[in-house]
């Protein structure tokens, strides 16, 4: 039963519960007009403590397409937070006005803390470099549609694996499916954090390797998940400039890749996927961004218990 639940970490839901959301998302994709009034009379609160136009618009359009309404703020300076209000008070207040909350915060664990005070379902829309579960739902749905399954796959994760929260969430989520092999492609400085290795990969005896060069492993991949080297995650500009162009996917590198490779990217991209790749049938990232809205529609409907 998903009604009334929070989504803070991808592991909050069982694989079966995730399947329930994906099935509904696939129904919505087929017949979106059938769901145009599903959330009539319901209000989504979007609390964005750091700007993220893409994720916010995805949540807002998801609610609007379900016939619901949206309130919220897109940066804390335009809210009571700027006056020094603490997080529990903000959440209790917004939870009194709305039926469901989507929250993004620069501090890791903020949505978890907020959920302890929320009278309505709270969705983590990204917390610092930590988790981004609705991006994970988007990624899993895209993989399910592209491959027809989320098992027996070799997935390469490339770029900033240290600060990239989408990568952390995706590893956690995919490690629960059968026979998944991870190939972690990053510079040494941007390898995945220790807790992901200890708590997820080593603990569950998951098959994974860490490599530095994309071209050495691209031929073995079923899925290639590219990530942006994010400027705001670096402590100094010099490190960013030195590393940002390390991992760029272009037509040349794709020559040795499988014909049915699925290329994913959480977007926005800077230059890590060359624009010449966009017309390649293996590029799924623009479909992926659309599936993100549909999976958020399914999630909102399930948490509100109106599907």
């Amino acid at each position: 039963m998903l009604k009334g639940r929070h989504l803070i970490d991808p592991q909050d839901f069982t694989v079966e519960e995730l399947d329930e959301i994906f099935s509904l998302a696939e129904e919505i994709i087929k017949n979106p007009e059938d769901f145009a009034h599903t959330c009539e009379g319901k209000i989504l609160g979007t609390l964005f403590y750091e700007p993220s136009t893409r994720t916010r618009l995805s949540f807002e359009t998801a609610m609007l397409r379900l016939g619901g309404k949206v309130v919220g703020f897109s940066e804390p300076s335009s809210s009571s937070v700027a006056k020094g209000e603490n997080l529990p008070d903000t959440i209790r207040t917004v939870g009194s006005y709305t039926d469901i909350i989507a929250m993004r915060h620069p501090k890791e664990g903020a949505p978890k803390y907020a959920s302890q005070f929320s009278p309505v379902p709270l969705i983590n829309a990204g917390d610092g470099g930590h988790q981004h579960p609705t991006q994970t739902l988007t990624d899993l749905l895209t993989i399910k549609i592209a491959k027809g399954k989320i098992s027996n796959l070799t997935i390469g994760l490339c770029g900033d694996l240290k600060f990239g929260r989408t990568v952390h969430s995706l590893i956690k989520a995919m490690s629960r499916y059968e026979n998944i092999k991870f190939i972690l492609i990053s510079p040494n400085e941007l390898q995945i954090p220790k807790y992901i290795k200890t708590e997820v990969l080593d603990r569950k005896l998951i098959n994974y390797i860490e490599v530095e060069r994309l071209e050495d492993v691209i031929d073995s991949l079923d899925i290639l998940y590219m990530t942006r080297v994010q400027k705001e995650r670096f402590f100094n500009e010099a490190d960013y400039i030195r590393l940002k162009d390390s991992y760029i996917l272009d037509r040349e590198k794709l020559k040795s890749a499988k014909k049915d490779l699925t290329i994913l990217h959480p977007l926005p991209r800077v230059n890590e996927i060359s624009m010449e790749v966009d017309s390649d049938p293996r590029a799924w990232y623009f479909k992926q961004v659309k599936f993100g809205m549909f999976v958020r529609m399914a999630l909102i409907a399930k948490l509100l218990g109106v599907s």
């Binding site: 915060h105 501090k107 903020a110 610092g128 220790k194 807790y195 200890t198 708590e199």
Partner: protein, 142 residues
Amino acid sequence: MLNINSITKGIVIDHIKPGYGIKIFEYLKLDKANFTVALIMNATSRKYGRKDMIKIENVIDLDLTMLGFIDPNITINIIEDEKIVEKINLSLPEKVEGIIKCKNPRCITSEEKGIIHKFVLLDENKGIYKCEYCDQIYSWEG
């Protein structure tokens, strides 16, 4: 060897890893006690070679779970009429609240006032905990 008289009624915290006695002494705020307390450091131990001990001549309300977090190998002896009437073995607690602080500068605990730092046990053998909010690893061994 230095002799400390046995106590009639009270608690003996035994088999403390050398150097950790003072930590437990401070945690239990025994420096402010108005009853007899002895902190013995580097005593000879048949089991570990060296150990710290604390003898408390009083009945105090001990938070045993949290002592287990400070040192899971210690034993607690409850003394009555100069005899051990109960021996308690400790283990690492499942949850640790308000004892240690999350060191991740990006964690919500570094920003919100009044938030209690909470850790959850991940691996009992290795003494590994994680912050309940940001997942930052805390190793008991340091």
